[in-house]
């Protein structure tokens, strides 16, 4: 079946994706674009492991068809930074050792990124509420919360 390619920007690069428009964005990112950051956790928008940013807003890529992302700007974990040049949020999570198995890490980092974009210096309570629907089974919550606070501290210092 021939399909019209869907054009979207991912991590700053334009991609023309040939997939059925109802295909969840998650599978396009993982399979067509070979990205590892967004993870499948539930496919129902419940857990947050698949979180990406779409036009700067946190989005659960497992429940968003790629057709709905046409013309939009998608950022994944890979788009934040690299091992050598991590983003401040990534660095904060590394510094705080904020992972045990790390499967939830993508969602935690991307959600933090989205939170700090609208609230650069959240209180602890605000951070807890923002992450309420991101599940972590390993019980890394303490370290993750510290990472969020650390990242926001840095952002503030940087006059962001």
């Amino acid at each position: 079946m021939t399909q019209t390619p869907i054009r979207l920007t991912v991590n700053g690069r334009i991609h023309d994706v040939t997939a059925a428009p109802e295909t969840p964005l998650l599978y396009v990112l993982r399979n067509d674009l070979q990205l590892n950051g967004p993870k499948y956790g539930c496919g129902l928008g419940e857990c947050g492991t698949c979180t990406v940013l779409i036009d700067g807003t946190a989005a659960r890529s497992c429940v968003i068809p790629v057709g709905g992302c046409a013309g939009r700007d998608v950022v994944t974990l890979e788009g934040l930074g690299t091992r050598d040049k991590p983003d401040v949020v990534q660095q904060a999570f590394i510094d705080e050792q904020a992972a045990q198995c790390g499967y939830c890490l993508n969602g935690m980092i991307m959600t933090t990124k989205a939170l700090l974009a609208i609230n650069p210096q959240p209180t602890e309570q605000e951070a807890l509420e923002a992450l309420r629907y991101n599940l972590c089974r390993c019980g890394t919550h303490v370290e993750i919360l510290r990472a969020v606070m650390r990242a926001s501290g840095r952002l503030a210092e940087a006059g962001n």
Binding site: A19, A20, T23, Y27, N31, Q34, N36, G37, K39, Y40, G41, C42, G43, L44, G45, E46, C47, G48, T49, T57, A58, A59, R60, C62, V63, I64, P65, A70, R72, T76, L77, L80, T82, R83, P86, Q90, F93, I94, Q97, A99, Q100, C101, G102, Y103, L105, L128, E129, A130, R132, Y133, N134, L135, C136, R137, C138, G139, T140, H141, V142, E143
Partner: protein
């Protein structure tokens, strides 16, 4: 420490290895040092997210005197690592690290001896720094000492290891080596493995969800209809072996679709034990008693007790609940079989895979990559076997990802447990005796594919696993402990703390009960019986750190929220009985209990631990955090639900785990014991959890809870008696009632068809047997130049207003080419082809023929059309507009397509009768403006009543399917959805206003009503073609049927009030928990913005309606095609929630968000109807 993945290629030069010879051909390597100075360490265990990779690297670096950064730890590749069994029971550091440590020490001794020789200096005068041996200003590196040689040392058990006092790396907190890769999205997880040519597989599991023992296992499949997935592109294979069913596709989303769509029929599962009442089920399960200890004279001591205390403690089934459902890739494409897996026991898995496909183990290489944390067992092995079967079937590499639903349903559960304790107090307040019996239905949870394919027996094995920490840590004079070993009831396996956690729940609750009865502080009471000095030290240290004050504190505990604190202690004794101890652990838990809502929050935990020598103290601290949080979650909220004996919880709403805001403050106390051997820390801190929390709840409320989870319902029942309903067995699934296409008075009543026939016949007279109209001669298709571009463009707008394409196009089909099935209460009507194809479409229709169809409902050939085609509305269209519409349709590409024949029941299949229907219900006349009304109103009325045909759905219909004229826009049903009233009869809590109507029709969303879904979404999407002033006119006209006028500030204030009053703060029912787990992320007011809209349920019209249809529709089917992507999407829950769960959810939502409306009475029937209908 370097990343293991960056080290693929072997260096060509010499090397030193320390090996253990297994037999003539096999040996296992522990350490390899190569001439370039790099060090590889091999361990048979795997890192389950606990950080052992880092800790093992520290141990090797320490013994070898190299920097931590130089060591690469290789875990879990069966081709290269030693077989050290499964990664279980906190053994890695305590047991399996021992040979590795010795091997490293042995290598150092060898190299230093060689250096002494090379440098001609006594070994004692040499120092080593990061693999560089120095002495007297000369130096030589390990690499140079090895050179081009291949050195092979046999592991010596007596290798001298370093004294703890000399440690510089072990005992230091070391950052985890795996984090930078995980935080930046590098390849670390098995989920991320991509092999060239890889296909995607999905499995379809049998209906006996989560049950793996019984004669029906592997024998229940009747048939698989492969043709049911023929329409899905790129399907490579459908595979079935026994009860194993899988699909393989080129693309993952197509494999997902195929697995959902594949028609598979199964035999009914025999009646399974009812697990709504775990205690009864466990007592009824046959068991064999095994005495673990029988000391003193228990029976006499109990007989002589002054206070008798017989107690029962019940532990529920729980889930490991990995955040990432299991995944694996298998490749059988060339002779070598390779399986990438997240398994925790690569060697055992390899054995299973060999058995499964009847090949020797040596042909299979299992490569272990990290996966989501599993805390015992998940489906990692199962999915590896699934992938192997599928790859073998197609001869190409296949990746299989289990779904969330499959992982929830089929993961081997943490098993339920039942503990009876008998005993009591002597007159002096001392413990008379302790007589404990524990029932633990464990099993080995054999790899599922072995069972499903019938390769192994489906009889559940009886394991001896209920005995972990079954003997209390207290020195009771008269003590008897019996483990009742039993077969599994559902698929189960060890879960963090295994049976030790429930056993400790009993020990530590019971001693608390004794202390209360004796009137002694519970810590003081414990210390009377605790003889182990390390335990005593720990208990004292934790009590001091927490600022423990002797209990009970007789303070007034009035008010809603009461506070309490509880203590518990355990030495986690694991592995085969009598086993050995891991780290010592003690908790002081603080709780706040809301006596009105039943909500328990654990506000603070002081967790103390004696872990012996800590390799990586930060790692230990993180493990304690993880254990405290996870076990608090287990104690407060976790319990697997079952329906008819099968696992019912298939997503996070049905099995919630602790969210961020509920996590307690944690204060970790690490006892420094560098002189003692290191102990496992992966589980110990979980073990005292539930008892400490139960003891704290008792301290707060004076009520003893002996069965976790401590949910609000259970707490309320404990505090206020049994007002709450006891769980009831589910009724057998109801036969789906007939579909509700329109408001349905068409239930099959005797004689109704005859009546209808009679009414219609009477209305039209006797000539009814003839076609009512004459044929209009065919014409040649008009040329495209006949009409102006402007006329055609206007026609396009009008086609959008009339939603022509919606009915006249099949899903994925050519536009307007017909064929879409329209279900009506009278049967199925197939929409016709309205493209200008001469033979199958309307290409041969003259304008008069077209106009007659639009106004009178007659086909060009004179045949009567069914009023599913809304000619009763279209007849009101102006001549000019009909001309434009004709022009547009004729200018479109012709598509050759014949619609299937209608399947209507008698008498509706008699078209002539429709003439009678027309006589009764249809007036052919153009729209006449009302001079008393404004021009805009009249414009709106024209659009709404003619081509817009709003009332076709939004008005109720009579018994003959005609709109009721006296109930214009009073609400109707269409395609299984309610089309709500647009008049003052609307149930919406905030009345519609002109602006809301405009916003809704323009964008598909109104802040005060919700988003357009179901059949309304495509309508609003079509309306985007219309200019704002037409939409405004429609809003003005529709709003004129609303009496209540509301201005924006009033609406806002009302909205805020409704939203504030309905906030969900406590989840005190299954329905509430489903809401919190599944819905709240996108619907709870005030949450973090997510892509798309955040419709407020308190204001949503559907929740306030008289019928639950739309709510049920949207929960089951979601919103896949919103008006615009800006509104976001909603997933469908029909494959993730059972009918009973949807019923609980819908009932909760109604009660919570429309509290002033009566409960719906027809929820169950509606769910059955919507589930069975095609919409």
């Amino acid at each position: 420490m370097a990343s293991p993945l960056s080290n693929g290629a072997e260096r060509p030069s010499g090397s030193l290895v320390v090996v253990r010879t297994v037999d003539e051909v096999t040996s296992e390597t522990f350490v390899r040092i190569t001439a370039d100075g790099s060090v590889n360490a091999y361990n048979g265990h795997v890192d389950l997210g606990t950080g052992i990779r880092t800790a093992l690297g520290q141990i090797v670096a320490e013994e070898l005197d190299v920097s931590f950064a130089r060591v690469v730890v290789v875990l879990g590749d069966t081709a290269i690592v030693p077989n050290q069994g499964a990664t279980i029971a906190s053994e890695t550091i305590q047991i399996t690290a021992v040979p590795l440590r010795k091997a490293a020490a042995q290598a150092r001794h060898f190299l230093i001896a060689r250096a002494a020789h090379r440098l001609e200096l006594p070994a004692a005068e040499l120092t080593i720094e990061d693999g560089l041996v120095r002495g007297h200003n000369r130096s030589v590196s390990y690499g140079e000492l090895i050179g081009g040689e291949t050195i092979r040392l046999e592991l010596a058990d007596d290798a001298q290891v370093k004294a703890v006092g000399n440690y510089t790396i072990v005992g230091q907190s070391m950052p985890r080596v795996d984090l930078p890769a995980k935080a930046t999205g590098e390849l670390t997880f098995v989920h991320d493995i991509r092999v060239p040519g890889m296909l995607h597989g999905r499995v379809v599991r049998p209906p006996y969800a989560g049950v793996d023992a019984g004669p029906f296992v592997g024998t229940s499949l009747i048939a698989v209809d492969e043709s049911s997935v023929n329409d899905i592109p790129g399907i490579i294979a459908v595979v079935r072996i026994g009860d194993f069913v899988g699909v393989v596709a080129e693309r993952e989303e197509n494999a997902i679709r195929a697995a959902e769509q594949l028609k598979v029929s199964w035999k009914p599962t025999p009646t399974l034990p009812d697990l709504a009442d775990v205690e009864t089920a466990l007592r009824a399960n046959p068991s064999t008693p095994r005495t673990l200890i029988d000391k003193g004279d228990v029976d006499t001591a109990i007989a002589g007790a002054t206070t008798h205390m017989q107690r029962t403690y019940v532990w529920p089934y729980q889930m490991h609940a990995s955040i990432g459902p299991s995944c694996a890739v298998a490749d059988c494409s060339d002779g070598n079989i390779r399986v990438w897996s997240g398994t925790q026991n690569p060697h055992v898995l390899r054995g299973d895979l060999a058995l499964l496909i009847e090949r020797p183990e040596s042909e299979i290489d299992v490569i272990r990559l990290e996966a989501a944390g599993c805390y015992g067992r998940n489906c990692a092995d199962d999915v590896a076997a699934d992938a192997l079967l599928l790859s073998r079937a197609v001869g190409r590499p296949v990746r299989v990802q289990l779904t969330r639903e499959q992982e929830h349903a089929w993961e081997p559960k943490g098993t339920a447990q039942l503990i009876d304790v008998n005993g009591g107090l002597n007159a002096d307040g001392g413990i008379a005796a302790y007589d404990l019996a524990t029932r633990y239905p464990s099993n080995a949870a054999p790899t599922l594919a072995l069972l499903l394919t019938g390769r192994i027996s489906c009889e559940g094995a009886v394991l001896q696993m209920g005995d972990r920490t079954a003997i209390p840590p207290y020195d009771y004079d008269h003590m008897r402990v019996i483990a009742h070993d039993m077969a599994p009831i559902v698929r189960a396996s060890w879960f963090r703390g295994v049976s030790a956690l429930p056993n400790t729940f009993a020990h530590e609750s019971y001693i608390d009960e004794l202390a209360t009865e004796a009137g002694v502080d519970p810590i003081e009471y414990r210390l009377r019986y605790l003889k182990d000095q390390r335990a005593v030290d720990l208990v004292n240290a934790v009590a001091e750190r927490a600022g423990w004050t002797p209990r009970p504190i007789r303070e007034e505990k009035d008010g809603d929220v009461v506070h309490g604190r509880g203590f518990a202690y355990a030495l986690y004794v694991h592995s085969k009985f009598p086993g050995y101890g891991a780290a010592w652990s003690a908790w002081v838990a603080d709780v706040a209990v809301n006596k009105t809502t039943g909500d328990v929050s654990v506000t603070r935990v002081v967790a103390g631990q004696d872990s012996g020598l800590m390799i990586n103290p930060d790692g230990v601290r993180h493990q304690i955090h993880g254990n405290v949080i996870q076990s608090t979650s287990r104690a407060l909220m976790e319990e697997v639900s079952f329906e008819r004996g099968a696992v019912a919880a298939r997503e996070w709403g049905a099995y919630p785990i602790i969210p961020f805001p509920d996590v307690p403050k944690i204060d970790v106390l690490l006892l420094p014991r560098p002189d003692q051997p290191p102990l496992g820390v992966g589980e110990s801190a979980s073990v005292p959890s539930a008892a400490a929390i139960a003891n704290a709840i008792f301290d707060a409320t004076g009520v003893r809870f002996r069965e976790p989870p401590f949910t609000p319902e259970r707490i309320l029942r404990g505090l206020h008696g049994d007002a709450a309903a006891t769980p009831q067995a589910l009724p057998a699934p109801a036969a789906p009632p007939p579909s509700r296409i329109w408001q349905n008075p068409f239930a099959k009543r005797a004689g109704i068809f005859a009546t209808i026939a009679a009414v219609c016949t009477a209305a039209v007279g006797v000539g009814a047997a003839l076609w009512p109209g004459r044929a209009i001669a065919p014409i040649a298709r008009p040329g495209t130049s006949v009409y102006s571009a402007a006329t055609i463009a206007r026609g396009e707008l009008l086609a959008a207003l009339g939603n022509c394409a919606e009915c006249h196009t099949t899903i994925g089909g050519a536009i307007n080419a017909g064929g879409r099935a329209l279900e009506t209460p009278f049967g199925t009507i197939f929409a016709t082809n309205i493209t200008p194809d001469v033979e199958t479409g309307i290409g041969a229709w003259s304008y008069p023929a077209f106009e007659r169809a639009m106004r009178d409902g007659l086909h060009r050939d004179g045949r009567q059309l069914y009023p599913a085609f809304p000619y009763t509305h279209f007849s009101k269209t102006s001549e000019a507009d009909l001309q434009a519409l004709y022009a547009y349709l004729m200018a479109q590409p012709a598509v050759r397509a014949t619609a299937p024949a209608n399947t209507l029941a008698f008498p509706f299949n008699l078209r002539p009768l429709l003439a009678g229907w027309n006589a009764l219900f249809h007036q052919t006349r153009e729209f006449k403006p009302d001079p008393a009304k404004s021009e805009q109103w009249n414009r709106g009325a024209y659009l709404v009543e003619s081509l817009g045909h709003c009332s076709a759905c939004h008005s109720p219909r009579n018994v003959l399917g005609a709109e009721q004229r006296d109930a214009y826009l009073a609400g109707g049903f269409a395609e299984g959805w309610e089309a709500p009233a647009l008049t003052s009869l609307s149930h919406a809590p905030i009345p519609w206003s002109e602006d809301d109507l405009f916003a809704y029709l323009r964008t598909g969303q109104s802040r005060y009503h919700g988003v357009a879904a179901g059949p309304m979404a495509p309508i609003v999407r079509d309306l985007t073609a219309l200019p704002d002033h037409d939409i405004r006119a429609m809003a003005i006209y529709l709003n004129s049927f609303n009496d209540a006028a509301a201005d924006a500030p009033t609406q806002d204030a009302l909205a805020a009030k409704l939203e504030a009053a309905t906030q969900v703060t406590v989840a005190a029912s299954s329905g509430a928990r489903l809401y919190q787990g599944a819905c709240a992320v996108c619907h709870e007011v005030g949450g973090l913005p997510l892509f798309g809209s955040r419709p407020s349920l308190a204001l949503n019209s559907n929740l306030h309606s008289a019928s639950p249809d739309n709510l049920v529709q949207v929960i089951l089917h979601g919103i896949a095609e919103p008006v615009s992507s800006d509104l976001g999407y909603m997933p469908a829950f029909k494959n993730s929630m059972s009918a009973a769960q949807v019923e609980q959810l819908v009932t909760f939502l109604r009660g919570q968000f429309a509290p002033d409306k009566p409960a719906w009475t027809s929820v169950r029937e509606t769910i059955a109807r919507v589930r069975s209908s095609t919409h």
